[in-house]
């Protein structure tokens, strides 16, 4: 029940110089919940559509359950797909939408009507809309439509579920509950799920693995923890959350920051030369310092004090667990930073890092 993509290349129709997917390879093991994340235009949806068989591609292959699916049409792949706009059939009630995949089966394959009705009721119960079978899709709220689209995709018992920005149109509270429910459903039914989203928090929340895409390429493919600890590029680090950037030099195993008021720290094993340190605002520690940078409290977030530290040429916002007095002069400690050189993470540093 796995999906494997090998060296997939797709160019824009009518413009071969515009590469949408640039040699993408990906292995989605059986039972995993994977999120494809990245900014708009990164190729996430293009990749998802290629897996589903909705779009043709120039070269490469898609292997589903150890079977080459490259030449298979979408209808022969038995993949559950949920579109961003849900694409519910407006001329059918909710129940007929859900049973569509069963209704279109040939007479010999199609289960008896009573069986279909039972399956529809089962799915309506599963999506917590037990009494909505006779309702027209236009009457439903966004969250309800989303769940109906999911039930419709699950009716033929696919082993794979592909979701294209399924929570995009939902309000934050509904979003959270729907994605928790979706994760539970994935575990309960033993699905292999690929979710496309541009919201990194959502991806971190729900998936086992994140695949970060940029400009038609996979930048990194890792679990949430590894992604946070070892982002492959500054882009990954920045995409996954608020990031502070400090330029500096490595000299004799010490990081020497370009900014004043930032403490040096030791980086054993890292070669000398220019380097960039990236760090999350809450990972910065601060200590009082004579003639340090003036810090002032500008607000609260998640119970942390939000401090604006005036570095002279710029102001950096950090989050601190301890409250600081207005106007206090501080020094920043950024030893938790990830180091990058030539656009890649400096791995030597990581080996010693938590």
């Amino acid at each position: 029940m796995s999906v494997r993509i090998e060296n997939l290349v797709r160019t824009a129709p009518g413009n071969a110089s515009k590469v949408l997917l640039d040699g993408v390879s990906l292995d989605v093991p059986d039972g995993s919940f994977m999120a494809l994340v990245g900014p708009s235009g990164a190729g996430k949806t293009t990749l998802l559509r290629a897996i589903a068989g909705l779009d043709a591609f120039q070269s490469g292959s898609v292997v589903i359950d150890e079977r080459d699916a490259t030449g298979l049409s979408a209808r022969d792949r038995n993949i559950g797909f949920v579109f961003q706009n849900y694409a519910l059939f407006r001329n059918m009630t909710v129940a007929r939408n859900i049973s569509f995949g069963l209704d279109v089966m040939s007479r010999s394959q199609r289960p008896p009507q009573a069986e279909i009705d039972r399956r529809v009721q089962e799915l309506l119960d599963l999506i917590h809309l037990p009494d909505m079978g006779g309702v027209w899709p236009q009457r439903l709220s966004g969250g309800q439509r989303q769940r109906v689209a999911l039930a419709r995709a699950l009716a033929t018992r696919p082993r794979h579920l592909l979701l294209d920005e399924p929570f995009g149109a939902l309000d934050p509270v509904v979003r959270r509950s729907v994605r928790e429910w979706l994760r539970a459903l994935h575990d309960q039914l033993g699905l292999t799920t690929i979710l496309v989203t541009h919201d990194h928090e959502e991806a971190l929340d729900v998936s086992d693995r994140l695949v970060v895409m940029q400009d038609g390429r996979i930048v990194q493919d890792a679990g949430p923890d590894a992604l946070e600890a070892r982002p492959a590029t500054p882009f990954v680090m920045e995409f996954l959350g608020e990031t502070l950037k400090f330029a500096g030099q490595v000299s004799g195993g010490m990081f020497i920051p370009a900014d004043p008021h930032v403490a040096r720290f030791s980086v054993p094993g890292v070669a000398d030369g220019e380097i960039i340190a990236l760090i999350r605002p809450h990972e910065v520690r601060i200590t009082s310092a004579v003639n340090g940078a003036p810090a002032r409290k500008v607000g609260l977030r998640y119970g942390f004090a939000r401090l604006a530290v005036d570095m002279g040429d710029r102001v950096v916002d950090i989050l601190s667990a301890t409250p600081w007095d207005v106007g206090e002069s501080v020094e920043l400690h950024i030893d938790a930073a990830r180091l990058f050189r030539n656009g890649r993470m400096v791995e030597e540093r990581c080996d010693g890092w938590a």
């Binding site: 909705l54 979408a74 059939f89 407006r90 001329n91 209704d103 236009q138 419709r152």
Partner: protein, 286 residues
């Protein structure tokens, strides 16, 4: 919801000012342009006494003309529906060269004087015409028969279907077809179960317009129809014939019957449209 309540809530929600003024203006214009002539048409036949009206209603030639008018209009509109759907499909989905030119040509029947249409069709389908001659060899005669009327009305009615269906088809998300395909539907199942039902309300609207136009059509028909009383004489022509005979009571009584049947037909089309629109248009199933 009662009418009063719905009016009140609509006014409360309506961001446009001047509801009363707009309503008054609308009613006035509808009254002057539509209702007044219609009222005159309804009143006029009875002015010479009910007996004259009843006598006029016993005219066999009139019933024959009405039958010709309604059956040919119905047939033409029905044939136009699949043709119009196909054309709209090709215009929206087909990446054919010359698509824009074809798109412009669709509206041409609206613009050409109907008499020109009639004469052109009569020449084309006549016994010596480009199409008429080969068809005559096959034993099919189109011009100067009820078939000719259907051909003329199809020509005139086609743009109504195309232009009603086209915008709906254009707005149809491609994901609908993709979703159907992913769920295992074959292409014909997708068309039959998803696309056509979604287009049906628009197609019925177009059908209603084409049908209504077909009943009233005069100029394009009379040149190709042959106009034999009882066989290929349409009701609007008979009205003109009666007028030329200074038989005003006869003319208005035909017009009156035409009006009544047309209203009933259009009401039926409206009812049908609401039936097929259930679920497609919010509020249609209430």
């Amino acid at each position: 919801m009662t009418v009063a309540a719905s009016l009140r809530s609509r006014r409360a929600r309506d961001p446009l000012p001047g509801f009363r003024l707009a309503l008054g203006g609308t009613l006035l214009w509808v009254g002057l342009i539509v209702a007044l002539p219609l009222t005159a048409l309804i009143v006029r036949p009875w002015q010479e006494g009910p007996s004259a009206m009843l006598a006029a209603l016993h005219d066999g030639r009139m019933f024959a003309a009405l039958r010709v008018s309604f059956t040919t209009a119905l047939l033409a509109a029905l044939i136009d529906v699949p043709l119009g759907l196909t054309l709209a499909w090709a215009l929206v989905r087909g990446r054919l060269p010359g698509r824009r030119i074809a798109d412009g040509l669709i509206d041409l029947p609206f613009a050409i004087p109907t008499a020109v249409t009639g004469i052109t069709l009569a020449t084309l389908y006549g016994p010596q015409g480009w199409l008429g001659a080969p068809l005559a060899k096959l034993g099919l005669s189109i011009a100067y028969s009820a078939t000719g009327i259907v051909v003329a009305l199809m020509f005139v009615g086609l743009p109504f279907i195309v232009r009603s269906v086209e915008p709906v088809l254009r707005d149809l998300p491609p994901e609908l077809e993709e979703a159907a395909g992913l769920l295992g539907a074959r292409p014909w199942q997708t068309v039959w179960r998803v696309i056509l039902p979604t287009l049906l309300p628009a197609a019925v609207s177009g059908f209603g317009l084409a049908f209504a136009r077909g009943i009233g059509e005069y100029g394009s028909v009379i040149f190709i129809a042959g106009n034999q009383p009882y066989h290929s004489e349409i009701a609007p022509l008979l009205v003109v014939v009666r007028l030329q005979e200074y038989d005003y009571a006869g003319a208005t009584s035909i017009a009156f019957v035409l009006l009544v049947i047309s209203s009933l037909c259009l009401a039926a089309v409206a009812w049908l449209r609401r039936r097929v629109a259930r679920g497609l248009i919010v509020g249609a199933d209430e």
